[in-house]
Structure formats: C-alpha cells, structure tokens
C-alpha cells in the first residue's frame, strides 16, 4: 500500500475513535437511565445499600478486614468518597455518583461503590 493511503486510513481511525468516544460520553452520561440505588462493596462483599432519592446528608466509614478506612459521604442525592487512608486517593478524586453508571473504585482498600445493576462481584 502507498504511504499516503496508510496515513489517510490511520487519520480516519483516529477521527472515528474520537467521534465514537464523544457519542459514548453522550449516551452514557447524558442519556442513560439514572438509578437511585447505590451498592457499596468491600472486598467483594455487599456491605451497604444507599438510596439516593431521599435527599439526606450523612457520612459513614467503611472499614475492611485490614483496618483500612474510607469515609463515604451522601449529600444532595450524590454519593462520593470524602476521605480515605489509601496512598493514591484516586477514589477521593473520582466524581461522585448521581445516577451515573460509572463506579467509584478504591484499589488499595478494595472498595467499590456502584449503581444498582452496574456491578456484581
């Protein structure tokens, strides 16, 4: 194949991936069915279910078998991890769940917060 043809094909792949990704963002985050029930798993076991439709504000600690702690906060119908003793703090920096299908995952403490139906261990 000619160099020119290969380059056009590669550029097309990049552009198509971008368009597909943009469409994916649109469908998953702006068009998806929202859920109000969120499950919290620690080390693969369901430890608590939270109903986000009740508009309460509270926070609680999830402590795993090694004694590591994640503080989970529910506020204005959104659930997020507000504090953690893990080294990387990725779970704290992940956006809160407000009916979105994306999970919050803390790798070191093995904590998963996920909308009902989106994850089962």
């Amino acid at each position: 194949m000619k160099q020119r043809t290969i380059k056009i094909i590669l550029a097309l792949i990049i552009i198509l991936t971008l368009i597909a990704a943009a469409a994916g963002v649109y469908f998953i985050y702006f068009n998806g069915a929202s859920t109000s029930k969120v499950n919290i798993y620690s080390e693969g076991r369901l430890v608590r279910s939270v109903d986000l439709s009740q508009n309460e504000s509270y926070s609680f600690d999830v402590i795993n078998s090694k004694g590591n702690k994640n503080t989970v906060t529910v506020k204005d119908g959104m659930i997020s991890v507000s504090d953690a003793d893990c080294p990387d703090k990725i779970c704290v920096n992940t956006a809160g769940i407000k009916g979105d299908p994306h999970p919050i995952i803390c790798v070191p403490n093995q904590l998963i917060i996920s909308a009902e139906g989106a994850y089962s261990p």
Binding site: I6, I13, I14, T17, A21, I28, N93, T94, D100, Y119
Partner: protein, 182 residues
C-alpha cells in the same frame, strides 16, 4: 545478543527519564475526576526511541517500556496498577511497532501517539474489567477523548524533534558509532 555499552547506557538514561516523568506526572492534580486519565508524559522517551531511527530499533523501545513499567510498580507499590499498566503497555507497544513498520517517515510519531494512547486505555480497562467487572468500561469514552488529545500532542512533540537532523538528536541517533572507544 551484542548490546553496545554506550547504547546500553543511553537506554538506561531513557528509562530513568521516563520513570522521572512518570513520578512527576503522578504529582499533578487530576484534570477531570475520572481515574486513569493521564497526560502520558512517561511515553515521550519511549516514542522518541521508537521513531528516532539510527541505531535504535523497535525492540529497544519495547525493552525500555517494559523496564519502566516494572520499575514504576516499585515506586507506587501497587501490584494492581502494575497489572493495568502492563496490559496497556503491551497493546501500546504492539500498535507503535505496527505503525513504525507501515509508516516510513517522521509523521508516524503523530499517528502512533494517538493510537498508542487508545491501545493503552483499552488494555488498561480490559485488565480492570477482569478484576472489577464490566462496569469499568463506562470510563472508556472519557479515557479515549483525553488519551487521543494528549497522545496527539505527545506525538507532535516527538515529530518536531526528529523531523530535522538537529545535532543533539543526531548524537542520540548514532550513539554507538561515534567515538566508540579504542
């Protein structure tokens, strides 16, 4: 396999640069609140080695990438993250090699930057979905958009570096032919 001492030293230097960029990048605040979104600075030295030509072949870049991933696990101390970056790294290396074979001029770096980022994200999420279930794939669209944008910029940087035969780049390119000792 004969691996010249000078080339070995340069390869070690590239590994160190890549590792330092990896650590520097970990210190940046997150751009958007999605885990796994990175600028990919650590891939710049690897892309440079991959596309600079001269004495540097594709397997040198793959070896440096492998060394960087294994060493970065020692720094972060996170075996799960090692699994993710290993899966991403294997796919990214494969894509970079494929593009190096098919596209013969410096602009290959730009295509490779974007497509290696895509491959890395897919590999990363494939490893993550084995551990956490299929719901992590919902991160993919975000990772792809940011991966392609940062990969294009990284590729353009490498393209600008290797496009013209400027002196420092030529020196790196011909590492083991210059002053090769007595």
């Amino acid at each position: 396999m004969r691996y010249p001492v000078k080339k070995l030293c340069s390869a070690a230097l590239f590994t160190a640069v890549s590792l330092v960029l990896f650590v520097v990048e970990s210190g940046f605040p997150p751009i958007i609140p999605i885990p796994g979104v990175r600028i990919g600075l650590a891939y710049l030295p690897i892309m440079l080695v991959m596309f600079i030509g001269g004495v540097w072949k594709a397997y040198d870049a793959v070896l440096i990438l492998a060394a960087r991933i294994l060493l970065s696990a020692l720094i972060t101390g996170n075996p799960t993250a090692l699994l993710f970056s290993l899966a991403g790294g294997v796919l990214a290396a494969a894509v970079m090699c494929l593009i190096k074979i098919t596209v013969k001029d410096p602009s290959a770096a730009i295509f490779a930057g974007a497509l290696a980022a895509v491959a890395h994200n897919i590999g990363q999420l494939a490893a993550a979905s084995v551990i956490y279930g299929a719901s992590v794939w919902t991160f993919l669209p975000f990772l792809l958009i940011f991966g392609i944008i940062s990969g294009l910029f990284g590729g353009i940087i490498i393209f600008l570096l290797i496009r013209k035969p400027i002196k420092p780049i030529t020196m790196i390119k011909n590492t083991d032919h210059r002053n090769n000792g007595e």
